[in-house]
Amino acid sequence: MAEVVFEQASRIYTPGAKPAVDRLDMTVADGELVVLVGPSGSGKSTALRMLAGLEPIDAGSVKIDGRNVVDVPSKDRDIAMVFQSYALYPSKTVRDNMAFPLKMRGMDKAEQAKRVNDAAELLGLTEYLDRKPKALSGGQRQRVAMGRAIVREPQVFLMDEPLSNLDAKMRVQTRSQIAGLQNRLAVSTVYVTHDQVEAMTMGDRVAVLRDGRLQQYATPSDLYDHPDNAFVAGFIGSPAMNLMDLRRTGDGVSLGGSEIPLARTIRDAAGSSDTLTVGVRPEDLSLESDGGGIKAVVDVVEELGSESYLYAHMAEHPDTTLVVRGPGRTKVRYGETIAVRVDPDALHVFDATSGERVGG
């Protein structure tokens, strides 16, 4: 039972400088898992630390379960946290690191051991339980940090990039275990990640931060399909959405010589603006083999095995670049000219100045 509410919460590290977290308003419903994303330095860790009571709240408030916790010391907030920097106890073994929060809560030894062993098992740390942190690899340390959080059943989980140093396989596995655990315990969780897949798959909702400000707070698919502004559009999705400032022509916008029609609602909403920022995701661009579509020259081909990405520039406007998703084994090579078709329904249109979404 813990609903977490940020109310106009701000944190300013250096007086006079711009806030690291700026009037954040965000509610994490009880049992919800919220993923916090944003560029490096956008205030994600700071937000977590405010919630954990490790940073003073310079304005606004933070509430857990309706209670303003601004004056509650960390240790009484019943929060488990995975630090971005791990913060392992160097003089304790892995086992003691993980058992520490349980010991602090006076849990009996047997139960402690059981929980630690379970968590170690889950994280593949069983054979390292008696080592000190300094004799572990980076990923192993990170897993210990994770373990120290998940042995508990706190009111709130805070995880600051808990899987960044794990390999893909382990990450996928741990991710689903965390999700499972979180689900089972119904613990409200705030999860910071840089991994697009994690962001899209784990969160009930995703909050996008930029320069300390919340940009959008919505479900992953909402975020992907209806980014509120050009920043979110460009930030969510990898490779990023192609965002181009295009001139308006008649019923649409002009791209590489051809006109792409815009829906009526958008046209109306856009009003009289001359230029619009138009976004289209790489997967919404298709390669035309029959010569139609927009012409582009390939700069780089990234082959990922299951798919490939073609980085290209407009044949006629070398400044406008495009990323197009191709099949796993593409024949296209550097320097070739390709023809690209845009799905007009998949266009995202933003105001060129404010970046706000135009129309639906």
């Binding site: 490790l54 960390s74 630090f83 920097s85 106890y89 160097p90 520490f100 602090m104 942190p133 340390r141």
Partner: protein
């Protein structure tokens, strides 16, 4: 003799053995090692000489030129023991151990409050502590004597305990604070997230990390207390005399019995030397490696 803690773990495996990184030039380190040894022996030599002198007769103790060829005698030690070293030793031990423990008990939380979780006016408080050491003891001894006399606490070991505690507290606080500042603040944060109270954070997280610093502090307090002379000589008489006061009775005005004095000094220093040798091994353990990224 002292043992070295750096001894490599003995290997039993037949596989390749781990080793220190090899370095390009071999002569550099060897030279440094030789220099280090020479300096160490140079520093130790006076002490060695003192110990040797303790085994000489008074006549051999002062010859020109100094001689190494002498027949060792236990005479001097016998004299010293005959003078009744026992109670002095016990008093010193009591005053030193109790005051050092007290110092650590008082200084640890204080240093914590002045470093990791700083209170307001930390600087002023620190300054106050160190300023209490600025009054020369010789100037303050008469007032102290008067107070202690009024309290009917002359020649009482607890008087020394209290004074030694007060005398070492500022140093301990300053030293410990410096070591505490080495602890990454994230660890304290983690501990508070994990629900550890202040005391437990100190005990379970901070102290293990700074244990070399604690040992250094304890060692230094022990040395200062053990060797403290001025309070001891002025505030004690028959009951609570400590080793240094025992020692000065061998500084006679009728010629200096240096061999005897050396024996007494050797005996007086022996406990701290042993304590020092034991404790200083603890000073060389890594602190917070692997804690944070």
């Amino acid at each position: 003799m002292a043992t070295s803690t750096e001894a490599r773990p003995t290997t039993s495996s037949s596989g390749p053995e781990p080793q220190e990184p090899r370095s390009a030039s071999r002569t550099g380190p060897v030279l440094l090692t030789v220099v280090t040894w020479i300096v160490a022996i140079g520093f130790f030599f006076p002490v060695l000489w003192m110990v040797l002198t303790a085994f000489k007769t008074e006549q051999d103790a002062q010859t020109d030129p100094p001689t190494l060829a002498f027949t060792p005698t236990l005479e001097q030690f016998r004299t010293v023991f005959d003078a009744g070293i026992g109670p002095y030793f016990a008093n010193s031990l009591g005053a030193t151990v109790i005051s050092t423990v007290l110092v650590l008990l008082l200084a640890t939380p204080a240093a914590f409050a002045l470093s990791l979780r700083p209170v307001e006016k930390t600087q002023d408080v620190l300054f106050f502590f160190i300023s209490t050491k600025m009054l020369p003891v010789v100037a303050a001894i008469v007032p102290i004597y008067v107070v202690v006399n009024d309290l009917r606490l002359l020649d009482n070991i607890w008087t020394l305990v209290v004074l030694y505690t007060a005398m070492n507290l500022p140093i301990a606080i300053w030293m410990m604070r410096s070591f505490f500042l080495e602890v990454p603040s994230e660890l304290l944060e983690a501990a508070s997230i994990d629900g550890a109270s202040l005391g437990r954070t100190l005990r379970e997280v901070v102290l293990p990390i700074v244990s070399p610093g604690i040992f250094a502090t304890a060692l230094i307090c022990t040395i200062f207390s053990w060797n403290e002379f001025f309070f001891a000589v002025n505030l004690t008489s028959a009951n609570a005399g400590t080793m240094p006061t025992f020692l000065v009775q061998f500084v006679t005005s009728q010629g200096l019995y240096f061999a005897q004095l050396s024996a007494a000094a050797t005996l007086a220093a022996l406990p701290v030397i042993l304590a020092g040798w034991v404790a200083q091994n603890k000073l060389v353990q890594g602190l917070s490696f692997g804690a944070v990224k």
